[in-house]
């Protein structure tokens, strides 16, 4: 090791002496190696002394490069002078070393790198957030990637931009199940890849019903230069992908730190990087200029059909289904006909998104599109821009609440009533009653929810722990009939049962949601699997039903929820609960709930009030 260093220094000093550059000593090299920008180029964590995040030995020139920035610096200098073509593989390192006068500029021509840069010809970088998508576990919290916009006229259409994405690269023929598993629990090789931005638009807005938000970054030319030269160094380099911390969003923050030295974006996200939180960090750091919104195709279609009459909507379905050839006999005027054809066309295309092409459907699509045409061009209604996701409430929550429960027969501890104080901590993310601004409608996504309860005579105990609680309510309508579902897994203390046992439980339900009274009503058959060490039969399975009505808003939300579970021999559990949430400010709210329970061990009613702070 020491000999290697000496050799490197000798080469270096020889080179430097001849070009009259600075003489470099071991001490000063050490100082250079500790500089944040050098560490950033090697992906060492900002706020800890751990090894580099890069898990790919091919990225490092020194054998110990992954753990030692100094060894990598020394070896980089030595390797660059021994093999000048290596400079083309590490243009960002080269640039930094030249800036620091540790390396003489070279007239080296890097053909492949130059071709790539010329082809991209980037003059603007955009941070893109694809909104959350409950139907895919890895996308539940959203996804971020960068868009690279070409200079000049080519920048006039986003279809000519490239997307730079950090994620898994799935080799053809890879074992799907293994990847699916590792996608959730981490550890699959992630790498940067590029693809045309229009493919991302197709993937997100067409296939997955996801809105996209485009945050134009205010990077100067030399910052874009640093970013791209470093991206080139990461070509084909593997990072192990982990869902919560070392994910797509974290990697992008690292890139931005390289682009603009002195930025610290990653420090807050060492343990978890929620995409929307990282976007907020980038906005707060003053890196964002213009922000654009790109609604999903589904939302565009909903906006289009909402502007039609009930009669027109019936024809839209008939046209798309082939039950109606044209609108000649409908008495609609020309404009109304075109709007109807356009809606039918988009509805048909939407339904056929993933279907194999048939000439019958293609011919019908073309016929509808022809009907939608209008001399001079048509315009479709514009989807109104919803509140921006990074302006929504923060993704962790702390709550403090008080509650009171009264029993009609006997209370668990022999009293007629009990009073308690609850302390809640939720790691992530959003439930249906939280302020809606910036979050998708009908979605609840809770991971890691812990409730501690203090109650007289019992002291502080675990009241509840939800590992996951996900509910997706998608309203059914004239055009679509999606399934609504819920899964919940965790521990729960039955606070109205004798001795208040702590039970482990899994709940799953699936059913439908319908728009009712300016909110949505849901009906979902459910199954509950419960383990209770205090009961004679400790494992129990109970079929049941969840039924309710939900109103969501940016300021007020409310839900009336009924639940029935049939434990057959062990009786039925019935609860009815009304909850309301008032958003006090972006990150704090007040929640009130009242309930009535009819349980095998007695009746009770309760009220609870809590203050909730998002952070």
């Amino acid at each position: 090791m020491r000999a290697k260093l000496k050799l490197a220094l000798t080469i270096l000093l020889g080179m430097c002496a001849s070009s009259a550059l600075f003489a470099t000593t071991m001490e000063s090299l050490q100082a250079y190696a500790a500089e944040p920008q050098w560490r950033a180029l090697l992906h060492f964590p900002k706020s800890s002394t751990g090894p580099s995040y890069v898990d790919d030995p091919r990225f490092f020139l020194a054998e110990t490069g992954r753990s030692s920035p100094l060894a990598e610096l020394t070896e980089t200098l030595a390797a660059f002078s021994a093999e000048p073509s290596l400079r083309c593989r590490y243009p960002a390192r080269e640039q930094w070393l030249v800036e620091k006068k540790l390396l003489a500029p070279a007239a080296q021509h890097c053909e492949e790198y130059r071709q790539w840069r010329d082809k991209l010809n980037v003059d603007a970088v955009v941070l893109v957030l694809a909104s959350s998508y409950l139907n895919s576990p890895s996308s539940m919290y959203g996804h971020t990637f960068l868009r690279l916009d070409p200079a000049g006229e080519r920048g006039d259409s986003d279809f000519l931009s490239y997307a730079l994405n950090f994620g898994a690269n799935i080799p053809p023929g890879e074992n799907d199940l293994l990847y699916a598993y590792r996608g959730l629990f981490g550890g699959y090789p992630g790498l940067f890849s590029m693809q045309p931005y229009y493919q991302k638009i197709q993937e997100y807005t067409r296939l997955e019903n996801r809105d996209m938000w485009e945050y134009r970054l205010t990077l100067a030319d030399e910052e874009i230069e640093r970013l791209l030269s470093h991206v080139w160094e990461l070509r084909n380099v593997n990072f192990d992908y982990f869902f919560f911390d070392e994910n797509c969003s974290y990697r992008l923050l690292e890139l931005l730190e390289v682009a603009r030295p002195g930025l610290d974006l990653t420090s807050p996200f060492e343990y978890a990087a929620m995409p929307v939180d990282t976007v907020r960090e980038v906005v707060d750091a003053g890196l964002v200029g213009q922000i654009d919104y790109r609604p999903s195709k589904r939302l565009e279609l909903d906006t289009l059909t909402a502007a039609l009459s009930a009669e027109q909507r019936v024809w839209v379905r008939q046209l798309a289904d082939g039950g109606k050839e044209d609108l000649a006999d409908t008495g609609l005027d020309a404009d109304a006909q075109r709007a109807t054809y356009l809606a039918a066309y988009r509805y048909l295309r939407y339904r056929l998104n993933t279907a194999p092409r048939t000439s019958e459907m293609a011919a019908r699509s073309l016929r509808l599109l022809r009907g939608a045409r209008k001399p001079g061009g048509f315009s479709a209604p514009v989807v109104s821009t919803p509140p921006r996701p990074e302006r929504g409430h923060r993704t962790s929550m702390f709550g403090l609440g008080v509650g009171y429960r009264e029993f009609s027969e006997q209370a668990p501890a022999g009293n007629e009533a009990l009073e308690y104080v609850d302390l809640d901590w939720r790691i992530s993310y959003h439930d249906a009653l939280d302020g809606m601004a910036g979050y998708p409608e009908g979605a609840s996504l809770v991971m890691g929810n812990l409730a501690l309860r203090w109650q007289d005579q019992e002291g502080v105990r675990l009241q509840r722990f939800d590992l996951v609680d996900i509910r997706s309510l998608s309203p059914r309508g004239e055009f679509f009939s999606p399934i609504s579902w819920q899964v919940q897994l965790g521990l729960e203390r039955l606070d109205d049962a004798p001795n208040q046992p702590l039970v482990a439980q899994i709940n799953a339900s699936g059913g439908g949601t319908w728009p009712v009274m300016k909110g949505v009503a849901y009906l979902m058959p459910a199954l509950r699997f419960e383990y209770n060490a205090d009961f004679r039969e400790d494992w129990r399975l109970a079929p049941g039903v969840n039924i309710g009505q939900l109103w969501q808003g940016t300021k007020y939300s409310a839900e009336l929820a009924g639940q029935w579970q049939d434990f057959s021999g062990a009786g039925e559990r019935k609860t009815l609960k009304l909850s309301g949430n008032y958003v006090w400010s972006a990150n704090s709210s007040l929640r009130l709930s009242i309930d009535y329970r009819d349980q095998p061990w007695g009746h009770s009613h309760g009220v609870a009030l809590s203050w909730r702070q998002h952070f």
Binding site: Y179, R235, Y345, R357
Partner: protein
């Protein structure tokens, strides 16, 4: 299974011009109107891992079997946005007379901003000759565009 079916459809639809057109189903000049997104292989897995399926290029190469992986294809020596992959968006833009896909094609042809409105109007007015049937493929749409441009005083200079 799906792949086999697609390949079969591809063979059945192939014609003389098709056979020489680069690209496979859903990716090249041979791609037909309204092919949908079924060509996005293992989309489920890609979405599950936030990843990309197929070979991850760096915007550098044409991928396997002549299927453009970088979003462009060569047409008459010019690098064009891969119209075969954006046929759905493009046809709707032509019907509408405006849109990102239409602009992308205009810019790919090198049409200056002041001439773009004429280009868009010309295509819009000739929707039926660009898309005479739903079985038209990207290559023949491109040929029609070039023909239309040649006949227009303002646009002819871009294709001469």
């Amino acid at each position: 299974m799906k792949k086999v079916m697609m390949a079969t459809a591809f063979l059945a639809a192939s014609s003389a011009s098709f056979a020489v057109a680069p690209g496979g189903p859903n990716c090249g000049w041979g791609n037909m109107l309204f092919s949908g997104q079924s060509g996005l292989a293992s989309h489920f897995l890609a979405s599950w891992t936030n990843g990309t399926s197929g070979n991850a290029t760096f915007g550098m190469t044409s991928g396997t079997n002549g299927c453009s992986a970088d979003g462009t294809l060569t047409y008459g020596g010019k690098s064009m946005v891969n119209v075969g992959q954006i046929m759905d968006e493009f046809s709707e833009d032509v019907a509408r007379g405006e849109g990102e896909a239409l602009t992308a094609v205009a810019v790919s042809f090198g049409i200056a901003e002041e001439d773009r409105a004429v280009f868009k109007t010309t295509l819009h007015n000739n929707f039926d000759s660009l898309f005479p049937s739903a079985d038209v493929n990207a290559e023949s749409v491109m040929n029609s565009i070039v023909e239309l441009m040649k006949q227009d005083k303002q646009l002819a200079k871009y294709v001469s």
